[in-house]
Subunit: 654 residues, 2 copies
């Protein structure tokens, strides 16, 4: 069933004006900044020396290996395509710290070595042990693939071998699984990097055991007899049991699940692993579950920004259509996880609409996670702010900053995909991809200023001058009438299949495909069940969701009202690399100083300015809103107003 | 400066169709229910036996005396006007438990007697020691005034005497004050009940020391050297110091304060005490501070329901105009506190507008705190719900249930007030009030079905058949054109002063004053800076704020849109004792199953039903909203629409 796979990072170059500076910022600033945070006394790097003793300050935290691992993974992605001896050496140092922290039997976890020795694998639900292990495995694979060095890969293999024994069908933790999913997808990567099938089978076991009865975490709790690490925060009362199980998606066997519930990052990582396994095992039942879950997410639980998970109290999913704006959640890590899952779904099924959602998350909910200077981060990404919300330098649980770094570092793996006879362009990113197809080796070069405009030029260069294959270029679902030419000739009846322009022919060096996407500003409405968007409209252009910031207005952004027939002008903007939108609008005029009164607010005219959502909060503290009050059709004759649902919006073009 | 004082409970009867059943419910169900909760093994009553030992389950909680005290106070208010031997006996039993828990030197606090002996008065900031003492004092005064028994009054006087010594200017806690204000207002009551001026002076010291530098809680922390009871939750970092001080309103001397900040219940209790002291000490500077704080609260920080405090993370006030609906706070106790403060402000200044705000809190944010059956409670009172919010039976910190009970038990003290020569009606509540004026004793009898309709009939009965005095009847600010008659004759030029109809004459037995208030439904808009109310309108009628509940509609309540020119019909409703409103409205029609799309939602017609906010959540889980989408003027010619801010709403009458 596995139809396509990503190109390796080393086969992709990126010289895109939007993305290349962002990747460079990750390498030159973000990773250095994060390394500095982790090198502070008593923090992650010091913890790996195993010198902490009870009573010392800075008790090692259960998450800390994952921070180090994600940082190594992000750095490895950068090293795959960029020579950076200083970063290379810093990574090697971190790897030696990990080597020193590894126990003789392969075990590698500081918390259970120095803080709670003798309690390994007894608090799977809370203590993030396998979660950290998974990130270490991902780091080992990434470092090996980027640099060819096997030092970390060997370390994590020894650890994975130990886990395989402990979680073997007759091992001490048979039936168990991770309280925070992550290792499952990592083991698939380890299998693919090493060819060792037992890692794949271990991943399959961990996924299959999940949700079986009796519930492992309840067995574990009874066996242990003491509360877990987060015991007081996760309810143990019988009536709360389902919610507690849903939190980590262990409420029922994964292949039976139909609704996206619980902690959002746990969910995204698990669905990613399930997608890998559906392909590897050709498991149609798993695929059907994934399609149900995808529908649940994308038709009932996803922010327009690609933010996943709306309930801060569980860092996860609320009821259907419960997507509060200022008081929502939308963790950066969950959007990163959604990008991972969407790519796997697209590669497994060959469908382009998954990449539409991937782009929604990538250009909005993921990018908003970091400041323009790359050193401040959002953990949650709200869709509105009263002006008191700002990105922070670091977090006690610092999962998001390195997660964002590793995704952008790894961007090359998301741009292209290949099947035996097809070269696939999923994302419009200037640069090159080198494909190894049945018909020979081919390089595609993209030229584009996307998402500032919608023009894409693809030049084909087969190594042997000629090659027969299918070139599949994704056409985003929002682009209604793309213009397509091959070698300057219009393609009148383009084959659009599963969201891809599909061109099958014998390609010659220098063949040129050009596409112009429809980049008009789109007015977007949410399903009426979404309370925070009721009576409101959002603005999108290409893959980018826009927002209003207080700094651009002399009134509170929530008072701005845009009618449906107002022309919207898009002006290219170098600050954000996209565009700024302008339109005539109105705002509530303040009548008097009273908080409540019986006269409706007056209106006055203002110019509305909208900027990309991902760019908000980079110009000082400021109010912000994605959802804009929808003024209907404005001052038009009465007879026309009743037809409002049938009127297309009139839009400016960038 | 103290111009008026409440009538004592024993001088008031209530046979009002709206309030009498609610008071009776408190006595017959709520107080019994709460007693049952506190009598559970290991809970409040058991703790008072002082038999708990380290290692035992159910460690006594720092708040527990306050729960018992508020329950005694509420029960005492009921016993003041109703014979209930069973309740009387239960109260006496609780008082004997308190007597048994009192130490030889008068000290009375379980936590610092059995859990942390030897640490009295060392954690004033967090440990609620003086807060509990204050509630004990209030209970002692209430029990004495209701029953004439001095048993509890003697107990709390001994405790207050100890506190007076400890907090004397040369005592060990000189300069200190409570982390949760409460004892300040209680000491004023104790002074008034006993005539002992030292209790008043102690209250004044505690208020005056607050906010002086160096800040006492920081001195206390240094002196103690260990974190306070809530140490990990209250930041100690220098940059957070101001917010930390504001939390308990100790950031500056109280007479200098101008903005309502911090924990909302602490604030309301403190302002109440300040108002008492401003009157007792004729302190104009304190009064000016109170007027600034009142303006801050009522023009920038108060929910339309009289809910005070919008930020759940501090159980208190957010920035100006930050009043989120579904994710706000509005603790029941804070509305109770606002009722207390507003009454004091009105009595001190003789102004009726304070009672407008008192009514806003009482009929909305306070009453919503309990279920119709009197046994389930809201801690926070949100202005919107997605249908997942329900009242609960009890709370770990059970401050709200008994607080609501004592306020409704004490309602008689809020109905009337008296000055030397004036009898004042503040609330329209059927029953009688007996006044002792310079000109003799007078009984006023109110007949009314308020708030179901706006008719009030007041019959005057001087004990000596005649008496010369001023009868002042509050005319609510929202009632634009009251009709007034005396003995059936219209009063053409009524004297309306400071919000009161003022009638000065020689009154004779049987004199009858009748008032008809304007009870039309009012459309109310919030200040444009309130994001949650932008583009929305609320419905009020009399003192009652209305809301929409999902149970009355076949669509989500947030999709309902009401135009400004739609007639609203009010139908009397026995279930709530008020009215139900009906109007033609529209709702968003669901076009397809997509979460986001580029066609605006269609509209369909529905009947909107609005019920009193206080009654919501009594018919199963259901969505709810106070703020209703404002549809403007509906389908009218274009030229008219631009005048929308000058058009009066067209309203139905009940």
């Amino acid at each position: 069933m596995r139809t396509r796979e990503p190109l390796p990072l080393t086969a992709v170059t990126i010289d895109d004006r939007f993305w290349a500076p962002r990747r460079e910022l990750i390498r030159t600033r973000t990773l250095r900044h994060q390394e500095g945070q982790m090198r502070r006394p008593g923090q992650q790097f010091d913890a790996l020396t195993l010198t902490w003793r009870p009573g010392d300050p800075h008790e090692p935290h259960i998450f800390w290996e994952s921070d180090v691992a994600k940082w190594i993974e992000a750095a490895s992605h950068c090293l795959a395509t960029t020579d950076d001896p200083e970063l290379d050496q810093a990574v090697d140092e971190a790897i030696e710290l990990l080597a020193g922290a590894q126990q003789d039997d392969g075990y590698l976890n500081v918390y259970f070595t120095v803080v709670k020795p003798g309690q390994r694998f007894t608090d799977l639900r809370d203590a993030h042990e396998l979660y950290c292990a998974g990130h270490l495995v991902e780091a080992g694979v990434a470092h090996f693939e980027a640099t060819g060095k096997t030092r970390l890969l060997d370390i994590v293999r020894r650890y994975a071998d130990l886990i395989d024994t402990v979680f073997s069908p007759d091992g001490p933790c048979a039936g168990g699984y991770d309280g925070h999913q992550e290792i499952e997808l990592a083991l698939v990567k380890l299998y693919r990097a090493t060819g060792e099938r037992r890692y794949l089978d271990l991943s399959r076991r961990l996924i299959d055991w999940r949700g079986q009865q009796p519930f492992y975490f309840e067995v574990e709790l009874q066996r242990r007899g003491t509360p877990g690490y987060f015991g007081t925060r996760l309810p143990q009362r019988p009536e709360d049991a389902r919610r507690f199980r849903e939190y980590n998606q262990s409420h029922q066997p994964v292949a039976d699940q139909a609704e996206v519930v619980g902690h959002s990052v746990r969910a995204m990582y698990m669905y990613s692993a399930m997608t890998d396994l559906a392909g590897e095992y050709d498991d149609d039942r798993l695929l059907q579950a994934l399609q149900r879950l995808w529908t649940s997410l994308t038709t009932k639980k996803l922010y327009i920004t690609g933010g996943a998970g709306s309930d801060p109290s569980i860092e996860g999913f609320g009821p259907d259509y419960d997507l509060p704006d200022a008081h929502g959640y939308a963790e950066t890590c969950a959007s990163v996880g959604l990008v991972q899952w969407a790519q796997r779904m697209s590669n497994l099924t060959g469908r382009g609409h998954y990449i539409d959602t991937l782009e929604r998350a990538l250009y909005n909910g993921v990018l908003s996670g970091a400041s323009a200077d790359g050193t401040h981060y959002f953990y949650g990404n709200p869709l509105a702010s009263d002006g008191t919300v700002a990105r922070q330098e670091w977090f006690g649980c610092a999962c998001c900053p390195p997660n964002l770094a590793r995704l952008i570092g790894e961007l090359g793996r998301y741009v292209y995909a290949q099947g035996p006879d097809e070269a696939v362009i999923n994302l419009y990113v200037a640069g090159t991809g080198r494909f190894t197809l049945t018909g020979g080796e081919v390089t595609l070069r993209q030229e584009t200023r996307y998402p500032q405009d919608g023009h894409l030029a693809v030049t084909v260069t087969p190594t042997d001058d000629e090659a027969e294959f299918t070139l599949a270029i994704r056409i985003p679902g929002w682009s209604r009438q793309p213009t397509i030419t091959v070698n300057g000739e219009p393609v009148d009846q383009p084959v659009l299949r599963d969201g891809y322009l599909t061109l099958s022919r014998r390609w010659r060096t220098g063949d040129l495909v050009e596409i112009d996407l429809d980049m008009e500003v789109r007015r977007t409405w949410a399903h009426p069940a979404v309370a925070s968007a009721a009576g409101k409209v959002a603005l999108e252009r290409g893959p980018v969701v826009f927002c209003l910031e207080g700094v651009d207005h002399d009134c509170a952004v929530h008072t701005l009202t845009l009618t449906r027939d107002t022309r919207i002008h898009a002006v290219p903007d170098e600050r954000t690399g996209v565009a700024t939108l302008h339109a005539d609008a109105t705002t509530d005029a303040t009548a008097d100083g009273q908080l409540y009164g019986n006269r409706p607010p007056g209106r006055r005219s203002v110019t509305l300015t909208a900027v990309p959502y991902f760019s908000w909060g980079n110009r000082g503290l400021s109010g912000m809103t994605v959802w804009i009050r929808d003024g209907g059709l404005g001052a038009v004759p009465a007879g026309t107003a009743s037809n409002s649902e049938h009127v297309e919006s009139s839009n400016g073009r960038g």
